[in-house]
């Protein structure tokens, strides 16, 4: 049977690439250190397969058809389509069709109805953390795109339930694999809104604190606060999926720092496998 290898979370703001040179040296050092620490923990966890939970930044989906959740079941995903991500090493990223199909089937059996795709483009949301973690070997990736871009979005509690479902799918998969989950995005930021550039450090720190507390308090706090903390903050949904997969236990902050040069409250975390 497969086993749960651990959960990880990382911010993914585009300016971490596009405006990297304008990040002050001390913050660059901390960001680099946080990505590397996450990479170190991921290497130690040694996942064969990684479920990558990210939004789709209009790379695959449009208003014609924008799924709440889409699971990538193909043998391959395409690398990031953004021109400024062209240095990303990998135009194609191997998937794990068999586990992805198992996850899809377990979802449907449990009364969840995700969309599916046999060929997704993995944009900066998925790829910046994978790149910056400096992994020598990227695990087989099972993309899980959760809408946190175009309202209405999946509820916060549903995202936690999705995480539990991913965990169940891992534990019922017959193959002898180690399977982890990487959530990307957040913490506070605002994109294309009059508040663009605002980082809500107190919100970020309280959110981080609550990941170690009761799930109910976390959801209540986020429900109350998210509408006024910038649209990018909605990506915390992906962290909730990882939290659910970790069964709400073992959260450890790797680092948090507000970085005005990239207009994101940058958070990095891991959940111990247990």
């Amino acid at each position: 049977m497969a086993s749960f290898a651990g959960a990880f979370a990382s911010s993914h703001g585009p300016l971490l690439v596009r405006e990297w040179e304008s990040v002050p040296a001390q913050q660059k050092e901390r960001l680099t250190g946080a990505f590397r620490e996450l990479g170190k923990r991921m290497r130690a966890a040694a996942p064969d397969v990684l479920v990558v939970v990210s939004p789709d930044h209009w790379s695959n989906f449009f208003l014609d058809n924008y799924p709440a959740v889409c699971i990538g079941v193909g043998a391959m995903s395409e690398g990031p389509p953004e021109a400024w991500m062209k240095a990303f090493p990998g135009r194609e990223l191997a998937g794990h069709a068999d586990f992805a199909s198992h996850l899809l089937n377990e979802s449907l059996k449990a009364g969840f109805e995700p969309a599916m795709s046999h060929r997704l483009k993995l944009d900066h949301g998925s790829c910046i953390p994978l790149w910056r973690m400096e992994l020598e070997r990227v695990p087989a990736l099972v993309p899980m795109l959760v809408n946190s871009i175009e309202p209405p979005m999946p509820s916060l509690s549903r995202c936690v339930e999705w995480g539990r479902l991913v965990r169940k799918a891992i534990e019922t998969y017959p193959g002898n694999l180690r399977i982890g989950i990487l959530a990307t995005g957040g913490l506070s930021h605002s994109i294309g809104e009059p508040t663009m550039g605002a980082i809500h450090e107190e919100f970020d720190r309280e959110t981080i604190r609550l990941f170690s507390g009761s799930e109910r308090a976390l959801i209540e706090y986020l429900s109350e606060e998210l509408p006024s903390r910038g649209n990018g903050s909605e990506e915390v949904r992906n962290w909730l999926v990882a939290h659910g997969a970790a069964l709400g236990r073992g959260f450890e902050l790797v680092d948090y720092l507000p970085v005005p040069a990239v207009i994101v409250g940058c958070g990095f975390a891991a959940w111990r496998a247990q």
Binding site: H57, W58, S59, F62, L63, P81, E82, A83, I149, E150, I191, G192, E193, P194, M196, G197, N231
Partner: protein, 81 residues
Amino acid sequence: MRDYWLSKLFFDLQSPKVAAEFRADRDSVLDRYSLSPEVRKALAENDAPFLAQRTNAYLLRYYFFTIGMKDAEFVQRLRGG
């Protein structure tokens, strides 16, 4: 509110090919989309608050990035400045 065709224009402009066409001959690209005169005027005037009410904030930002506007000016315009 979502203006489908305005949003579609912004979505399509993510393609470097379409963006290059847009830079070379803006009107010929705009003619492919069913845009109201008010929306075309707002595009011509870079009226960010007007456009913001009609599309997704990420798409709006992509658009102004594509036409080469710096974030500082974009935000200033969004705030009505």
